[in-house]
């Protein structure tokens, strides 16, 4: 009897979550699909975005994300490897680093926005630019990526480290040939999580990359990210709802494409490097 109740509750909770998300997605799709067309993707916005397309905004979004990733991937992987492989787990320094990262991962984005505005735009004199926005996003993404990558590496059995050491295999070789490939699903998951947070970001970007909806000419230009565009259309532009839904749909499709390709890439690398049980 208690089992039945429990089973029912589990199904119910899953059902509620599924329905909520289904409703959310279908709302965006239903409202936005009418707006979706080739010209919507390739035209400049007109009349504050009510008409025209979102081409410059897609480009800005990708540039901001790309800038952030160029910084985040090497720094994040490096720090995670340091934390997982080159430090004593129990040392004070490591534990405090970990605590700081966990706190940072949970800090509201507006705080990062203010920091980016003060530090990148102001102190480093980068102004409202894609560069400032990308760097601010990088700060937000780093803690997430570092902690998930570290967790992934820590989950790799220690047996292989000892086996490698006993064979006189260097840590570098072992990392590249065994540990990192084995941990790559976790690393990819962390990367996608942080990309998700970045693409959804508005608060941090309004302050740093600005909201100019023209085509950016370089990384020093201001650029409007998709999430900022959606926010602007729905809050500040009367009659911008349709375009907002269209942009939201494009954003969702973009995230799905990034997800799928990142997973495929990691799977490809994993298959090439690692030979798991088939």
């Amino acid at each position: 009897m208690i089992d039945r109740c429990f089973t029912f509750i589990i199904w119910l909770t899953a059902g509620i979550v599924f329905l909520a998300f289904g409703w959310l997605i279908s709302e965006v799709v239903v409202q936005g699909v009418g707006k979706l067309s080739w010209s919507f993707l390739t035209d400049e916005p007109a009349r504050s975005g009510r008409e025209g397309g979102i081409y410059p905004i897609i480009v800005s979004t990708l540039l901001i994300l790309g800038t952030a990733l160029v910084i985040v991937i090497p720094l994040g992987l490096g720090s995670a490897i340091w934390l997982a492989e080159f430090t004593k787990k129990s040392s004070k320094r490591v534990q405090s680093t970990r605590l700081i990262l966990d706190v940072l991962a949970g800090v509201p984005s507006i705080v990062f926005g203010l920091f980016g505005y003060a530090f990148f735009c102001g102190f480093l004199d980068l102004g409202f630019s894609i560069l400032s926005g990308g760097l601010t996003l990088a700060c937000m993404m780093l803690p997430i990526l570092i902690r998930t990558t570290e967790a992934g590496l820590t989950a790799v059995p220690n047996d292989w480290r000892r086996a490698g050491a006993a064979l006189g295999v260097s840590r570098t070789t072992l990392l590249w040939q065994v540990l990192l490939p084995y941990a790559s699903p976790a690393i990819t998951a962390g990367l996608l999580l942080s990309i998700g947070r970045a693409t959804a970001e508005t608060a941090a970007l309004i302050f740093t990359s600005g909201y100019v909806d023209r085509m950016p000419e370089s990384l020093n230009d201001s650029g409007r990210a998709l999430a900022v565009h959606i926010y602007d259309l729905s809050m500040n532009v009367v009659g911008g709802d349709k375009a907002a839904y269209g942009s939201a749909l494009v954003l969702i499709i973009m995230v799905v494409i990034i997800n799928l390709s990142a997973n495929a890439l990691s799977e490809f690398w994993l298959e090439k490097k690692i030979n798991r049980l088939q």
């Binding site: 129990s90 292989w160 000892r162 086996a163 006189g168 070789t173 040939q177 690692i274 030979n275």
Partner: protein, 279 residues
Amino acid sequence: MSKGLVTGNAYTLGSIEQGEPCCEAVSHFSIRDLAVSYQQETVLSNVSLEVYKGCITALIGPSGCGKSSFLSALNRLSDMVPGAKVSGDIIFEGENIFDTSVDVRTLRTKIGMIFQKPNPFPLSIRKNLELPLKEHGVRNKSEIESKIFDVLHSVGLWNEVKDRLHCSALSLSGGQQQRLCIARALILEPSVLLMDEPCSALDPISSGIVEEMIQRLAGRYTIIIVTHNLAQARRIANYAAFFWMTERVGKLIEFGQCRPLFESPQHSLTAAYVSGEKG
């Protein structure tokens, strides 16, 4: 294994044949006053013994008496353990392995190690063997191929895996994995094999196969094996070292040729342990 099966299972003691005593005792390792501590807590102290070339030396004694710590000091794998401190001298092939001039990675190519749990890398069988070779500068394709063939033959695995070298090493059975690990250690042409209870995670049949293989490797390699299986120690070892824990510190109680140690132990603790009264 077949010898053991005559008188009972692998864990019963009886009139079991033992390995040949080594004809000439040439020292390979000289261990002097070895002590190991973790986080200032001594787990092993005052161990001095000789390990003879080409012989099988068995380390026996109850759990927690420092046998594995002793073993991992010999290839300096203890360096990896945070807070581990090793003191004393280990002279290996005329050189103290704790000298600053000793390159640990080269040392470990001369001293192979097999662990309790088989730990092949999650790579193909071939790559498991290639990885250490390439790491130590062997790039020639045909040389690699012939070495892979040789070591897989040595561990009796060639016929079982020759058609699936590209398959995952993790798809092998436990016993096969352990033999692959031994092959992986052998491919670097070490002179010593350290084995930390290599059969204890295996089923009796696989255990028997691995044990037989260890006996075949004796002579070509100096083998130091930790085992909880006294019958196995008796069957295969030429020398035996008995460790015991006194006041929570592991000590070497008795060391000598295997048969005398089992049949006429000098120390009462040894006698009690090998007869099964204590331990």
